[in-house]
């Protein structure tokens, strides 16, 4: 019994600390803030009282052992958890100081502003062009064909894919290699000109070369979009992110500058995880 009590105390302490950390990050323009977020799947709690600030200029990495709730939390940020009937989110999440769970917030517009890239590349079974044009079409971003062409080309260039596919824009997107497919998905996400891009283990299905390309791309995109990336790969977190959040068992254990967190973790659990002692 004592043990459990200790652990819970521990967890509350951690929360307090990480919230205390948040203002330290404020030199960055705040894009999204989460306060006291809980997520339940049915009766099971998957996220416990998480508060975090996401800055505009930086890439934020979420790390933590499998099942600790990284994806769950990420999906709260663009309300993708709405698509899971048993999921329930409490607490407050703001985008540019507007509550995204407010009934006045239109989820269609929210998702246009907060884009998402998934673990497994999931291009639609359509042509490369149609894949990228999908978002602009449903949001009515282009008034003419030439405007649409322009958006598609610009997005593909930004995603570093244009040179490879410019001669076969009308071939099926599913015929590309895995890495190309993932960059296509990134192009698709940036085609609607989002403000935030959420990436859930975007490289876990890719080989090292394709991974390097995506990491390079993330570096290029930094500053234009607020980027949040979930990863299992410590080196990757160290390479691409400026801020890192460590999740464990549904709680946010530690959040800080990536360089600090990896060289000088303030929590034992963080240290154990990044030195590979568990997870």
């Amino acid at each position: 019994m004592n043990n459990v009590g200790d652990m819970m105390n521990d967890a509350t302490d951690t929360q307090a600390e990480s919230r205390a950390d948040a203002p330290a990050l404020a030199q960055d323009t705040l894009k999204m803030t989460a306060r006291n977020v809980d997520v339940y799947y049915g009766d099971k709690q998957a996220i416990d009282n998480v508060s975090i600030d996401i800055g505009m200029e930086n890439v934020t990495a979420f790390i933590g052992p499998s099942g600790c709730g990284k994806s769950t939390f990420l999906r709260c940020l663009n309300r993708m958890n709405d698509t899971i009937p048993i999921a329930r989110v409490t607490g407050q999440i703001e985008l540019d100081e507007k509550d995204i769970y407010d009934p006045a917030m239109d989820v269609v517009q929210l998702r246009a502003r907060v884009g998402m890239v998934f673990q497994k590349p999931n291009p639609f079974p359509k042509s490369i062009f149609e894949n990228v044009a999908y978002g602009p079409r449903i949001h009515g971003l282009a008034t003419s064909k030439s405007e649409l062409d322009e958006i598609v080309e610009k997005s593909l260039i930004r995603a570093g894919l244009f040179e490879e596919v410019k001669d076969r824009l009308h071939d099926s997107g599913t015929a590309l290699s895995g890495g190309q497919q993932q960059r296509l998905c990134i192009a698709r996400a940036i085609a609607v000109d989002p403000e935030v891009i959420l990436m859930d283990e975007p490289c876990s299905a890719l080989d090292p070369i394709a991974t390097a390309k995506i990491e390079e791309l993330i570096n290029d995109l930094r500053g234009k979009y607020a980027i949040v990336i979930v990863t299992h790969n410590m080196q990757q977190a160290a390479r691409v992110s400026q801020r890192t959040a460590f999740f464990h068992l549904g709680t946010l254990v530690e959040y800080g500058e990536t360089s600090d967190l990896f060289t000088n973790p303030s929590q034992d659990r963080t240290k154990d995880y990044i030195t590979g002692r568990y997870g």
């Binding site: 993708m80 698509t83 989820v107 929210l110 998702r111 246009a112 998934f118 999931n122 978002g135 998905c185």
Partner: protein, 451 residues
């Protein structure tokens, strides 16, 4: 009786095998039960096979020995009368007739009884000998190291194989007979007349074969109008929409009720739909056409009535195929689209349905092939007149209806009329077969795309 012996053999062999167990050092290869089965099968199968073959030959053998009897010498020479008398004698002998009609038959009865008794006994003795011989052979092989299990498994495999072949062989037989009769038909009526002729009136050809009356185009057209056009106009949108609702919108509870209900709909006997079409829908459509639309040629047996009801009948097929294909589209597609800010209906329209399209098309083709082979509804509601018309309020007829027409009532089985039914059947068979092959191919390719 053979079965009884087999049961006994099963027990004795099992017992013996069980006794063997402690004797040998190693564990016996097969369980005692397998040894039992092995011996029982050896005992029963050859004996039963022999019995089957024997009973095929038995009547011939008996008849031959009866014909050798002195009483048979004064049988009439004509083949037909002979057969009639012999048949009567046989019936008298086994007691299914009590009084004779022909005296010759009466005279043959003792010979019949004697012969069938004699061959019957021979049959039984031979069967038993065979059973014991084979049983003993198998029994002697019951040893600890004997692989009875493998042998029994092989027998089981053969039994299953034969069972599955029966359905296929029957189909092949049916097709062969269709083909045969169709060839006979085309010896009388040219195939070009049949396939391209536009006049169908075989009922007028009882006494003379007028090739001009066997033009099947109006039937093909009627079939397509009802089964592939009107029925599909009803079934495709409704089936697709119900599938979309069930997979994308319905709460789990609603889905768990509605899906079985739809499937039950598929089990309603088509004759019930036929009633409904003929007694309710057809008159309503005729009144509507005459009074509201002013179509004076509207018939009470309209293509529209049959087509609409048939469409309703196949909604469950379309819907369940579409349901399966929509469910087979990976959830990642849906998430990807929703994460772009697409609404549910945009996602369905622009991503899910295009992705599921091959499966949906396959389902529709299967439904078409079912619709054009459907008989009851059109027999009851579509009428018999072979009109070549695009007006859905008029009466048309279909291939299946005409087959029924041609084969019901008193018919000799080699008039052009009846043979025409076989030709129609063959056309129907080929078309539905092709549709099914294409549909299954499309569906299969679609499945592979997502594995």
């Amino acid at each position: 009786m053979v079965i009884g012996f087999a049961v006994i053999a099963w027990f004795t062999a099992r017992f013996r095998a069980a006794r063997l167990r402690p004797l040998g050092g190693d564990r016996p290869h097969s369980l005692p039960g397998y040894h039992g089965w092995y011996v029982a099968l050896w005992l029963a199968i050859p004996a039963l096979l022999f019995l089957t073959v024997w009973s095929l030959f038995l009547p011939g053998l008996v008849e031959q020995s009866v014909l050798l009897d002195p009483a048979a010498q004064n049988l009439p020479a004509s083949q037909i009368e002979r057969t009639a008398i012999l048949g009567e004698a046989r019936a008298l002998a086994d007691g299914s007739l009590t009084a004779a009609f022909n005296e010759e038959a009466e005279a043959l009865v003792p010979a019949y009884q004697e012969a069938s008794g004699f061959y019957g006994v021979i049959g039984i003795i031979a069967t038993l000998l065979l059973a014991f011989a084979c049983g003993a052979y198998a029994f002697l092989r019951v040893r600890p190291d004997f692989r009875a299990r493998n042998r029994v498994e092989r027998v089981v495999m053969w039994v299953l194989l034969i069972a599955s072949l029966i359905a296929i062989l029957t189909t092949i037989g049916i097709v062969a007979s269709l083909l045969f009769e169709t060839i006979r038909f085309f010896e009388r009526i040219s195939i070009v007349e049949f396939i391209f002729g536009t006049h169908w009136n075989p009922q007028s050809t009882t006494f003379s074969d007028d090739p001009g009356s066997f033009g099947a185009i109006p039937l093909f057209w009627g079939t397509i109008l009802i089964g592939a056009i009107i029925a599909m106009i009803v079934a495709i949108p409704l089936g697709l929409m119900s599938a979309v609702y069930l997979t994308q919108y319905a709460p789990a509870k609603v889905r768990s009720v509605m899906k079985p209900v739809l499937e039950i709909l598929a089990g309603v006997p088509t004759v019930v739909y036929g009633y409904f079409a003929a007694l309710t829908v057809a008159p309503a459509i005729r009144d509507f056409a005459v009074n509201v639309m002013g179509v004076s040629s509207a018939s009470s047996e309209s293509a529209l009535a049959a087509g609409v009801v048939m469409g309703v009948m196949i909604i469950p097929f379309v819907s369940s195929m579409a349901d399966d294909s929509l469910a087979a589209v990976p959830g990642a597609m849906r998430d990807g689209s929703l994460a772009m800010g697409a609404t549910n209906s945009e996602t369905i329209k622009r991503v899910l349905i295009p992705a599921a399209l091959p499966g949906i098309v396959g389902g529709v083709l299967l439904a078409v092939s079912r619709a054009i082979g459907e008989t009851m509804i059109v027999v009851m509601a579509a009428g018999l007149a072979a009109n070549l018309t695009a007006n859905p309020f008029e009466s048309v007829t279909t291939v299946t209806v005409q087959i029924v027409q041609l084969l019901t009532g008193d018919q000799e089985f080699d008039s052009s009329k009846t043979l025409a039914a076989f030709a129609l059947g063959l056309v129907l068979f080929i078309v539905t077969l092709l549709l099914n092959i294409i549909a299954l191919g499309v569906v299969k390719r679609f499945r592979e795309a997502y594995e």
